[in-house]
């Protein structure tokens, strides 16, 4: 049995597999299928200060090898989460990462202050592509990434801050550096790629929001490349995600420079995807004589030219 534990900004995780925000709710539903205390962490459904109703339906579509979604940050609000779900989620033994979004800089600061000290980590969603004021505006330019990170960080005394980066940008390396400069303790990437799928009979986009965030197996090579570029650009730890379906996929991200990974869409295809990835990581490490999974982070060697 390999040692799968990792440490992110002083927070110990029993393994590097974390549920990606928006695919796992607050964990209660998946806990009906397996003990979610066995997975490293849960990044919650994106939280805002006030409850949000989200976008009209349909909110999802499938395209070969990927899905598109535009849920639009439907959530019961951060107070409801703290009162109804937080203690339960902590009691499962998994690490709790609160994913947060806002419309204004003040929103980001306020929600961080509200959650400071209550959760293990906070993940700043500055890259939701599905709401006009879902933070995407903050996530594009390096200057605004740095600014929103600095403002959010000013609301935090105790809890480490992850900044979740959008792939829909000019330079992922520049944006990762901007987050680091703004005081981020960690970056996670990639959020979804903005896409569109058309119902040709109706001559209309399938998703009511017209565009949606693309995720799933098909985005993995893009995500691995971006995780590599980001991890080369910063000293803070990187959480990698984008199309991870099996342990071998997770290992690619670790080798590209990630300390931990998040798994999202794969849980729709197979609700047991994360427990299987954890078992697979163990088996792969044992087979390859890896005693600690941390040995894999950043071992990638580029081909010579």
């Amino acid at each position: 049995m390999a040692n799968l534990s990792v440490n992110l900004c002083g927070v110990p995780f029993k393994n590097p597999v974390i549920a990606a925000s928006g695919t796992f709710g607050f964990g209660r539903e998946f806990n009906e299928l397996y003990d979610i205390g066995t997975i490293g962490g849960v990044s919650t459904k994106g939280l805002t200060l006030e409850p949000r109703l989200g976008n009209p339906v349909p909110r999802i579509a499938e395209s070969r090898g990927v899905i598109l979604n535009a849920v639009g940050l439907q959530n019961p609000g951060v107070k409801h989460f703290i009162e109804r779900d937080l203690e339960w989620l902590k009691s499962t033994g998994t690490r709790v990462i609160a994913n947060v979004a806002g419309k204004t800089l003040d929103d980001y600061k306020n929600i961080c202050e509200t959650l400071d000290g209550l959760v293990d980590m906070i993940e700043l969603n500055i890259s939701c592509p599905n709401v006009k004021s879902g933070g995407m505006a903050f996530g594009i330019k390096p200057q605004s990434v740095e600014e929103v990170t600095r403002v959010a960080k000013s609301g935090l005394q105790k809890t480490p801050l992850i900044v979740k980066l959008s792939p829909n940008v000019e330079s992922i390396a520049a944006n990762a550096q901007a987050a680091e400069n703004g005081g981020a303790d960690c970056v996670s990437l990639i959020n979804t790629l903005t896409g569109m799928a058309i119902d040709i009979e109706r001559r209309k986009p399938i998703i009511a929001n017209n565009t949606g965030g693309v995720s799933g197996a098909g985005v993995k090579p893009v995500a691995v490349r971006m995780v590599y570029e980001a991890s080369q650009a910063v000293k803070i730890p990187v959480i990698g995600m984008g199309g991870i379906t099996c342990a071998e996929d997770a290992i690619e991200f670790l080798m590209a420079g990630a300390t931990a990974v998040q798994v999202g869409t794969a849980s729709f295809t197979d609700p047991y995807a994360m427990p299987k990835i954890i078992d697979g990581l163990n088996a792969w490490c044992d087979k390859h004589g890896i005693a600690n999974v941390t040995e894999l982070t950043g071992v990638l060697q580029l081909n010579g030219r």
């Binding site: 928006g22 695919t23 796992f24 709710g25 539903e29 998946f30 009906e32 299928l33 459904k45 109703l53 989200g54 339906v57 349909p58 909110r59 999802i60 579509a61 499938e62 070969r64 090898g65 990927v66 899905i67 979604n69 849920v71 439907q74 799933g216 197996a217 869409t265 794969a266 849980s267 729709f268 295809t269 197979d270 609700p271 047991y272």
Partner: protein
């Protein structure tokens, strides 16, 4: 209890125009309430499962009927007997008829008729059931052998090629006017049909439950993809809070 069953296809065949029926043998027996559904894995490049209502359960064998609509159901249609797939089930709340409700009306249209067959199979012996079922045309007629087991069966079509030329709600309303008043109405079908039915039951002051359909993500209530509007302005999850709702609670 919800579980990801390993299911082997026993039979997968066309039963009407654009409608197919697939029967799976599960690795163990599954207790299903009428109106619940399964989320069927298709494999390959299909990352989303397909949520389909259970039609019949017979020991370890479970039958789902589906309309060929997109790439997913096209793929499902091609899966031969012996193929193994995963089916996450039973999902959703299902239909529940209270002890005091004796006379039950089933109102169904299109592919929505199949969950009503599961109601008939569960409650056919204990309740007095009348079924009002609408099809597009004679070629689309299916499930008649099941519906004929009801106390009363009225099958109609949009073009009059089978039964009277009317829709299921009109057939139900005609019988209502003759004094055949149920204690509860259970319905499933296209949204315009459910909307017309909701207006009718509100005028007639009848209790009515409708089963809704929506594009789903996880199928278990975690992702908030398949929501519907509640009359109070809030949202509910079709997969977890439904798919069956009191018609007075939802805005259609």
């Amino acid at each position: 209890m919800m579980k990801d069953y390993l299911a082997t296809i026993v039979k997968n065949e066309r039963i009407a125009e654009n409608i197919h029926s697939v029967t799976f043998a599960l690795d163990e027996a599954c207790k299903v309430r009428c109106g619940q559904f399964g989320n069927i894995s298709l494999g390959g490049s299909h990352l989303l499962r397909r949520p389909i209502a259970v039609c019949k359960v017979d020991g370890r064998e479970v039958t789902f009927c589906y309309q060929i609509k997109g790439e997913g159901t096209q793929k499902l249609k091609t899966l031969a007997a012996g193929t193994k797939v995963n089916v996450l089930m039973p999902l959703g709340n299902g239909f529940f008829i209270e002890e005091k409700e004796k006379k039950v009306a089933l109102v169904g249209g299109g592919v929505g008729v199949f969950p009503l067959i599961s109601v008939l199979r569960e409650y056919g012996a204990s309740k007095e059931i009348s079924a009002y079922i609408g099809y597009r045309n004679a070629g689309a007629v299916c499930g008649v052998d099941e519906f004929e087991k009801a106390r009363k069966f009225v099958g109609v079509t949009d073009d009059g090629s089978y039964g009277d030329k009317m829709n299921a709600v009109q057939a139900f309303e005609a019988d209502l006017k003759k004094g055949n008043r149920p204690d509860v109405v259970l319905a499933c079908g296209p949204t315009p049909m459910l909307r017309a039915l909701k207006a009718l039951v509100e005028r007639e002051n009848l209790t009515c439950f409708v089963s809704l359909e929506e594009r789903m993500g996880c199928g278990i209530g975690a992702c908030l993809v398949c929501v519907c509007d509640l009359t109070g302005g809030a949202k509910a999850r079709v997969c977890k809070d439904g798919p069956v709702f009191n018609a007075s609670d939802v805005s259609l």
